[in-house]
């Protein structure tokens, strides 16, 4: 009975219920300030979660996202600091601001593609490959930054994470646009079909004359690209780049995807629900903060919610049978 109810209500119901409960418990919860705050806090998780959705949709997993964010952010910061003192004339802005950002994107995408090649072509299990990349990229971040925290960046570089457009934080706009693009790609394009098919039945996709390995490779590239974008956002939000950045991001991103109802077994899911999943994690975290629950307890709660979400996924399946 309860099973059926929960199964039908889904992520929307749970989201609304938690908002209701928290607004009763804390008078500060339902304020514009606090809600903007939540959206900002979950924006980076959402961006990484979008890339993670592609990967999990194919039945894979990417544990290296946090480390790839760290590697991208220090590459961007180091290149910027190295170039900033020099004079490039009219190209100054291009070289000092745009180039480091592009390099962050390239770094993230490249690291993701290494994952992709090894998983799709060399058939290393995604769990192991991305676990290895988690360590490699983190190590790379320490090496590139020489263990240093790099801080204070110009406005251009921090605009994505810190800027506002007509009073609305740029990061919120960006994360929603990224969700929109990803939803379009997955829902309407040939490529999106292939991603679903890869997770649903890899052999059938291959025997339909599609280069399944290339599709699989690409989703890790997309996840890496999302990390690159997230690293630019993170640098802007904190105005700091450090090699320990992004620790534990894989947890939040995977949680957002799974809580959003994308099947961990692949072939089923929606990127818009990843946004809701990220929001739910953010709201619960924010609520627990307002209620003065210690961060240690919060970790326990978030972990339990991930397990509950997968359990719920199973529940849905058995309710259907």
């Amino acid at each position: 009975m309860l099973n059926r109810l929960v199964a039908r209500a889904g992520i929307y119901g749970i989201l609304i219920a938690s908002i209701a409960v928290l607004s009763v418990l804390s008078p500060h919860f339902l304020t514009v300030n606090n809600l903007t705050n939540i959206l900002l806090q979950v924006a980076i998780t959402t961006i990484i979660g979008v890339g993670m959705t592609f990967v999990i949709m194919t039945g894979g997993i990417d544990l290296s996202v946090g480390s790839i964010v760290a590697l991208s952010i220090v590459v961007m910061a180091v290149v910027h600091k190295a170039l900033a003192p020099m004079d490039f004339g009219i190209f100054q802005w291009l070289v000092v601001i745009v180039l480091p950002m592009l390099l962050a994107l390239v770094t993230g995408t490249a690291a993701g593609l290494v994952n992709g090649v090894m998983v799709a072509k060399a058939r290393v299990p995604a769990f192991i490959m991305t676990l290895g990349m988690m360590s490699m990229a983190r190590g790379g971040a320490y090496i590139v930054s020489d263990n240093q925290t790099i801080s204070v960046f110009p406005d251009g570089l921090t605009f994505l994470g810190d800027g506002r457009v007509f009073g609305v934080p740029m990061l919120i706009i960006a994360s929603l646009v990224i969700v929109g693009i990803a939803a379009w790609v997955l829902g309407s394009t040939i490529y999106g079909r292939f991603v679903y098919a890869l997770g649903g039945n890899r052999v059938a996709l291959r025997l339909s004359g599609v280069n399944a390995a290339r599709v699989e490779m690409s989703v890790y590239g997309i996840s890496g690209l999302a990390c690159g974008i997230a690293s630019i956002a993170l640098l802007g939000r904190l105005n700091v780049a450090q090699p320990v950045a992004g620790m534990g991001y894989e947890l939040d991103a995977i949680a957002a995807v799974i809580i959003g109802g994308t099947s961990i077994f692949g072939g089923e899911g929606k990127v818009a629900n990843t946004l809701l999943g990220a929001l739910l994690v953010g709201i619960i975290r924010n609520g627990l903060n307002l209620l003065n629950v210690s961060p240690n307890v919060q970790l326990v709660v978030i972990g339990a919610i991930i397990v509950a979400a997968v359990f719920y996924d199973k529940l849905k399946d058995s309710a259907r049978a």
């Binding site: 040939i190 490529y191 098919a197 649903g200 052999v203 059938a204 339909s208 004359g209 072939g267 089923e268």
Partner: protein, 500 residues
């Protein structure tokens, strides 16, 4: 009332949301008897055997064993009652050895918690000897053939001292020779008093092995026949619910020298020096035992397996086919023997699956044109009479026959002119099987060139214009069906003989 020995069910019933899967079902399994259960897909056979194997915690009606009422609400309960089920899908652990699998879940113990290895080995060897099969105890199950793995499952049931053995389409994927071996074992176990429930779509087998035949339709029992009463026509009539006319079609005439595809000296993956030519509009059958290399040959032709040597030409031009992608571009389609595992994305909608191999043609740039996709699928639904209320339904919800039609539609949509059907009617009921045969012939009449690989010899003879037999990786001979195909003749070639 006299106590009836064996297992008796009375008014057995089971409902699922929206479906009455089994209704008022009376069935008897007597010791030493093979009771065949027949019915089209969805007739309720699986529901029935699932109840007997303890898959459902709830069901309606009563079950008695030797006059004692019992309830079978868990698999453990079924095991305790000595009921063993051998499902179509194997329930063995591929990475473990034959011996370990035979004892899995019921290991002989020493000191309460350690496996008694000596006793285990002895018992396992004993049971294999009793079955008269030679399978090494230390072989990993993943290295066994389907037929051998099946023997291991039977051995496992024997170790449990099963009194009732339920076999769900045991011959669906084993060769005729292995089938004969299986029947020998069934007869031996029968003589020792084991009762069997035997499910199969192959009517010939039933004539050979059954003592009693029960036919089901729509979750109900249509009737029970003795082996003598159970003629093929009578059974099919009961299954379908109407008399059947002549199912076999007249021979077709393919008098052309127009070669659609020619394969020359193809080797690799156990296939040795295979050469054949497929004429335009021809249906070319491939007969052979399981493991003769037919599927591997086809997968090489389709680019799904690497080719070691040999050439392929399409429309007279030499081509390189190094991936399924290349094959599809050359207009070749392959319908896998494993429809669910290799042909369809079951969670996705019917039109989605039909479009999968032709998306670029159904799209504007990178964006899929839903209207065109829907229209294309709708066309195929009409032409192939795919029975479904909606094209948006998940493909997994269709019956086997309709799923096969969806795969056919997928390939027709690509516009391919060479179609390779690998075991096109495996697991498909009698009625849908005839439909698929008609469909294959209709496609050939319209100019498609078709290869049919099948382990079901009557099917090949029914549908093909010409049959090539393969044995141990080689093409061993050819029979023109229209003139003189006799089952024995093809059989001889399959077993490795060569014809002048």
């Amino acid at each position: 009332m006299p106590v009836e020995p064996g297992l008796v069910t009375r008014k057995l019933g089971k409902s699922f949301p929206g479906v009455r899967a089994l209704d008022d079902f009376d069935f008897v399994i007597r010791p030493g008897e093979v009771h065949c259960l027949l019915g089209e897909n969805g007739a309720g056979k699986s529901t029935f055997i699932n109840i007997l194997s303890g898959a459902f915690a709830e069901y309606e009606g009563e079950i008695e064993i030797d006059g004692q009422p019992v309830t079978i609400t868990t698999p453990a309960r079924a095991k305790a009652l000595k009921i063993a089920t051998i499902h179509q899908e194997q329930c063995l652990v591929p990475a473990m050895t034959v011996e370990e699998n035979i004892h899995l879940g019921d290991e002989p113990r020493r000191n309460g918690f350690m496996v008694d290895k000596k006793a285990a080995r002895k018992a396992a060897q004993e049971v294999l000897d009793r079955l008269g099969v030679k399978i090494p105890l230390d072989a990993r199950v993943r290295n066994l053939s389907t037929a051998e793995a099946q023997m291991v499952e039977i051995a496992k049931a024997l170790v449990l001292d099963a009194r009732i053995l339920i076999l769900d389409e045991p011959t669906a994927s084993i060769s005729d020779r292995d089938t004969a071996e299986l029947f020998r074992i069934i007869r031996e176990l029968k003589a020792r008093g084991t009762g069997f429930v035997y499910i199969s779509h192959r009517l010939q087998e039933i004539a050979e092995i059954a003592d009693t035949v029960t036919v089901m339709r729509d979750g109900r029992k249509v009737g029970e026949l003795t082996a003598e009463e159970a003629s093929a026509d009578r059974i099919v009539e009961m299954m379908v619910g109407r008399p059947v006319g002549e199912l076999s079609a007249p021979p077709r005439n393919v008098e052309t020298d127009d070669i659609a595809m020619a394969v020359s000296g193809l080797s690799g993956n156990g296939v040795i020096d295979a050469s054949f030519a497929l004429k335009r509009g021809e249906i070319l059958g491939f007969a052979g035992l399981v493991g003769a290399g037919r599927t591997d040959l086809m997968k090489m032709v389709f680019g799904a397996l690497p080719v070691a040597a040999g050439t392929i030409s399409v429309d007279g031009k030499d081509v390189v086919i190094d991936s399924p992608r290349a094959a599809v571009r050359l207009g070749i389609g392959y319908l896998s023997e494993d429809r669910k595992g290799e042909g369809l994305v079951l969670k996705q909608a019917i039109d989605w699956n039909i479009a999968l191999a032709s998306l670029p043609a159904l799209s504007n740039g990178p964006v899929v044109d839903r209207k065109r996709e829907r229209a294309a699928a709708e066309g195929h639904r009409k032409r192939l009479s795919i029975a479904t209320p909606s094209l948006s339904k998940p493909t997994g919800q269709l019956s086997g026959g309709n799923q096969q039609k969806v795969v056919v539609a997928k390939w027709l949509e690509t516009g391919c002119r060479v179609l390779i059907f690998d075991e096109p009617t495996r697991g498909i009921d009698v009625n849908a099987r005839a439909e698929i045969h008609t469909l294959i012939r209709a496609l050939a009449d319209k100019g498609s060139s078709i290869i049919v690989v099948s382990s079901d010899l009557p099917e090949l003879i029914q549908v093909s214009d010409r049959i090539l037999a393969m044995s141990e990786g080689r093409i061993t001979g050819e029979v023109a069906v229209a003139r003189n195909a006799r089952q024995a003749e093809v059989m001889e070639l399959m077993l490795g003989g060569t014809r002048a």
